[in-house]
C-alpha cells in the first residue's frame, strides 16, 4: 500500500514538473516548483533507502521530513509573492503580519526543541513538526484573511496553491495531533494519512496548474495617496456614525 502511494506521488510530481517545464511555467512559480522538485528527490531517496537499506529508513525519514517542513514555507512565500504582486498596500500589511506570526511561533518552536539538546526523541520531532505546521497554518490563514478582506482578485493557479497546501496542512495538523496522542500505535496509519494528504494536494495543484486560466483583471487607475484616502473614509464613517446617533437622539 505504502509503495503504491509513494509511486503515485512520484508519478504526479513528475507529471506536474514536466508539464510546467513544457508550458514554460517554472519561472512563473519558481519557489513552488522548487518545493515539488525537492519532494520528488526526497520521495525517491526514501524509496531507495527503504528497499536497499531498511534499517536506516527511520533516520532518513525523519531527517528528510524535517527539511521538507521547512521547504513547505516556499509555497506560503509563493502565495504571498505572486498573489499580492500588484497590490503593494496589502503586500506591506502581509509582510508585517507574517513577520509577527513567525516571530511569535519561533519562540514556541525553540521552547519545544530545548529538551532535544539532551535527548532527541521521536516525540520531540513530532511536536516540532506540528509546531512548524502551526506556523505555516497561521501564515496561510493570515494571507487568506487579507485576500478576503481586500477582495484581492486571484487566478486559478493561486486558488489551487492555497487550497492544495491548506488542505494538506489541515490534515497534517490533525494527523500529527493524534500521532502525538497515541504515539507508536498509530504510526503506520499516520504515515498513510500524511502521504494521502500530499497526494490530494498534488491532485489539486495538477488541476489548478494544468493550463493557464484567465488572469484576474485589475483596474487600479489613479490610486490616491493613502493619507487622503484614509481621511475621506474616516469622514464618511463619521457621517454614518452621526446618522445612527441622530436616530437614537430623535
Amino acid at each position: 500500500m505504502a509503495l503504491i502511494i509513494t509511486c503515485l506521488g512520484l508519478f504526479l510530481e513528475v507529471v506536474l514538473l514536466s508539464r510546467a517545464y513544457l508550458r514554460g511555467r517554472l519561472r512563473e512559480f519558481p519557489f513552488f516548483f522548487s518545493y515539488v522538485a525537492f519532494v520528488l528527490v526526497q520521495s525517491a531517496l526514501r524509496l531507495v533507502v527503504r528497499l536497499a537499506f531498511p534499517e536506516s529508513y527511520s533516520a532518513v525519514f525523519w531527517a528528510t521530513e524535517f527539511i521538507g517542513v521547512f521547504a513547505g514555507c516556499a509555497i506560503v512565500f509563493e502565495f504571498y509573492k505572486v498573489g499580492l504582486r500588484k497590490f503593494a498596500g496589502v503586500a506591506k500589511l502581509a509582510r508585517n503580519a507574517l513577520l509577527l506570526v513567525f516571530s511569535l511561533t519561533v519562540g514556541k518552536v525553540i521552547v519545544t526543541a530545548l529538551p532535544g539538546l539532551h535527548e532527541w526523541t521521536g516525540a520531540i520531532i513530532i511536536q516540532l513538526e506540528r509546531d512548524l505546521r502551526f506556523v505555516q497554518i497561521a501564515a496561510v490563514v493570515t494571507l487568506l484573511g487579507l485576500f478576503m478582506l481586500y477582495r484581492i482578485p486571484t487566478s486559478r493557479a493561486i486558488k489551487g496553491l492555497a487550497l492544495g497546501y491548506g488542505a494538506y496542512l489541515g490534515i497534517s495538523m490533525l494527523n500529527l495531533t493524534y500521532l502525538d496522542y497515541f504515539r507508536s500505535d498509530v504510526m503506520i496509519v499516520a504515515r498513510y494519512v500524511q502521504s494521502s494528504a500530499y497526494l490530494l494536494a498534488l491532485a489539486v495543484w495538477g488541476v489548478a496548474l494544468w493550463s493557464r486560466g484567465p488572469e484576474p483583471v485589475v483596474s487600479e487607475s489613479g490610486v490616491p495617496r493613502y493619507s487622503v484616502l484614509q481621511g475621506e473614509t474616516a469622514e464618511k464613517l463619521a457621517s454614518s456614525q452621526l446618522a445612527v446617533r441622530s436616530a437614537l437622539d430623535s
Binding site: K86, F87, A88, G89, V90, K92, L93, N96, R130, F134, I137, V140, V141, L144, G145, F147, M148, L149, Y150, R151, I152, P153, T154, K159, A162, L163, G166, A167, L169, G170, I171, M173, L174, L176, T177, Y178, D180, Y181, E220, V223, P224, R225, Y226, S227, L229, Q230, T233, A234, K236, L237, S240, Q241, A243, V244, S246, A247, L248, D249, S250
Partner: protein, 176 residues
C-alpha cells in the same frame, strides 16, 4: 492541548471554504449589492433628517395610542418597525460600501499604514455592531421606544460606572 490543534485545523478548513466562496462569488456579491441599492431607492426620502426624525419620534406613536384603536396601533407599530429596520439596513449597506471602496483603493497604495488601517477597521466594526444592536432593539421594542431604551441603557451604564468608582475609592481607602 490536542483540542486546540484540532480546532486550529478545523478553522483552517473553514477559512479555506470561505476563501473559495468569497473569490468565486465576487461577481455575484457585487450584483447583489447593486440590486439592493436600487431596491432601496424608494427609501431615499426616509434618509433625510426630517423623515428620520418622524420614523423614530414618539409624537406619532403617542397620537395613535390616544386614538385607542388597537388595530390601528398594531398597524402603525408594524409599519414603523419595518421602515426603521429598512433604514438601519440601508445604513449598514452604506457602511459596507464605504469600506469596500476604501479597501479597493487602499490595496494598491504603497504608503498604506497599518495603524490607520486598524483604526478604520475598529471604527467600522464598532459602527456595524451599533447597527446590529439598533436593529435588535427596533425588532424587540419598536422604533418609537428606542430613545427610552437608550436612556435606560445610559442610566444603567452610569450606575455601573458610579458603583465601580465607589468600589475603587473604597479599595483605595482600604489599602491606604
Amino acid at each position: 492541548m490536542p483540542a486546540l490543534f484540532i480546532a486550529i485545523a478545523v478553522s483552517l478548513f473553514l477559512i479555506l471554504a470561505l476563501f473559495l466562496r468569497a473569490v468565486g462569488d465576487g461577481r455575484r456579491v457585487r450584483a447583489g449589492v447593486q440590486f439592493e441599492a436600487e431596491d432601496d431607492s424608494v427609501l431615499a426620502d426616509s434618509a433625510r433628517p426630517a423623515a428620520l426624525q418622524r420614523i423614530f419620534a414618539r409624537d406619532d406613536a403617542e397620537f395613535v395610542a390616544a386614538c385607542r384603536n388597537p388595530e390601528l396601533l398594531e398597524l402603525f407599530a408594524q409599519e414603523r418597525k419595518e421602515l426603521a429596520l429598512r433604514w438601519v439596513s440601508r445604513r449598514r449597506q452604506q457602511m459596507i460600501a464605504i469600506m469596500r471602496d476604501h479597501m479597493r483603493a487602499a490595496r494598491s497604495s504603497a504608503d498604506l499604514e497599518l495603524s490607520s488601517e486598524t483604526s478604520l477597521l475598529f471604527t467600522y466594526g464598532r459602527l456595524r455592531l451599533t447597527c446590529e444592536a439598533l436593529a435588535l432593539c427596533i425588532a424587540l421594542f419598536g422604533p418609537h421606544r428606542l430613545h427610552a431604551v437608550a436612556a435606560q441603557a445610559k442610566s444603567v451604564a452610569s450606575g455601573v460606572r458610579s458603583l465601580h468608582d465607589s468600589m475603587a475609592s473604597r479599595r483605595g481607602l482600604g489599602s491606604a
